[in-house]
Symmetry: D2
Subunit: 157 residues, 4 copies
């Protein structure tokens, strides 16, 4: 899903160009995946869209770990996190049959916007891919941005 | 496919943060797509990965228009363009059944690296999504970067 | 989308086992696709899910050609066609860069159910894949089967 | 991946039309999945292709449990299992956020061909989808069918 809203709250300028490797602070979730045939392309390695699918799965797990499960997303208590920006760097390719570990961490938390940083790593800890994504909380009924819950922001911001 | 190579040739710092709307110069290709059910998610709009799939299709058409078709990519004359970086902004959602226009344009051309800028637009010209991507030419046999053909660089750089 | 309804109207027993090549009668639509990198897997050929994605696109185009566009599907005049069954045979693989032609034809039309037969062919007319699919018209608001419009059935049944 | 080979070894005629629920005999593997946003479509339920992606993952896990991991598939000792036929019935839709259980079981084992039967079930054991698939062992170097290893057939056939 993508966002029907582009406000003027911005993040990341202080980061300079490029996606930086993340420093472990705050909430973090990880999961392992196998590179199946449907994840690869004719180059014999995971297709670039596959990494973003894995990351979306772990990002959703991270939200759930922070009390913002899919039920809350569509139920309207919280608003639904909607992707507004992705910056992703592909460093090394994961091959068919590889076992990868995807780690996602909550980054900055603003009023309606927050960032998630993710890494896809190999079995020996090598970096395959890293991404920084910006999401906005949206009220699915109105399609408008909805402020993040104050208690949630205080706890995780 | 993603790249097994990260050299030190860099682009884009002069652009500042964020993805800028592109100025029409150089080679450009466009194609239309319908937003089918499989392109959407439970939010009723095109899923964020769908835009990148459309863009990859048009980016490949662009390469072919510039004499670098899939045959040349795997045949080894040119090397195969491999994605190393994506920056994408989702501005407005395309809905189920919408007809979208995807435009891709060759950006900067370096020794082994080049950029492609793309936009996904609606029927009334509204902007749904814009992306800037960096690719590297790779020799599929060795997995190493391969210089872009001199004549191609001169013509399109 | 898949169907929340399994009635007792059945088709196809007279066909015996397996998917037969279709005889051209009734409404038919076709479209061409290129086999892009994201359509392939590490075997260098189109992944088995890719054929079904192409077929769904052309099946949707066929519905539109028969006056049952996506607008009518979600607007509720007609009900929404929902897939209840797929039988697909993979005969020969389409390779990266191939140009394929997908043909879909309306098969049997029942009270709430209808079939669509599709073929994926190569540039020389060779058969890559053929599928027979059964769909049910569903009222998206209630999730229940909804009779096909009488005039539509008379015209196309 | 799909198969470049269609021999005359056939299965399933004795089953009559349709996909029967499977009887538990022989090797069986299962795994759970969450229905994420990217798995759904605008109908709010898992898209029909999603079930086949889940099933392919579990089918691959099943092969590994039977000593036929991805390494053996591409290494050439065993040949690579290539999908030649899918029959799938969609019975009830899995919704966004649902937790599903996918079970795959080895069915018939022939000389070069074998079948796998799979079910996608809900948390309360309800049936969402069932599929029967036929695969052929193929030598990836020659693209030709390759007999299943005699010891493997004896053990699992």
């Amino acid at each position: 899903m993508v966002c029907p809203y582009q406000g003027n709250e911005t993040f990341g300028e202080e980061d300079g160009a490029g996606v930086r490797g993340f420093v472990k602070v705050g909430a973090e979730v990880e999961r392992e995946f196998t590179v199946y045939f449907f994840d690869t392309d004719a180059g014999g390695v995971a297709h670039n869209l596959t990494y973003l699918r894995w990351i979306e799965a772990v990002r959703t797990d991270l939200a759930e770990a922070l009390g913002w499960g899919i039920g809350e997303m569509v139920g309207g208590v919280h608003g639904c996190p909607v992707l507004t920006k992705t910056e992703v760097e592909y460093v090394k390719p994961a091959k068919l049959g590889d076992r990868v570990r995807v780690v996602s961490r909550l980054g900055q938390v603003g009023k309606v916007r927050f960032t998630v940083e993710s890494e896809v790593q190999g079995a020996e800890g090598q970096l395959f891919c890293r991404a920084k994504q910006e999401l906005v909380s949206v009220d699915l009924k109105t399609g408008k941005a909805k402020a993040l819950r104050e208690d949630w922001r205080k706890k995780h911001g």
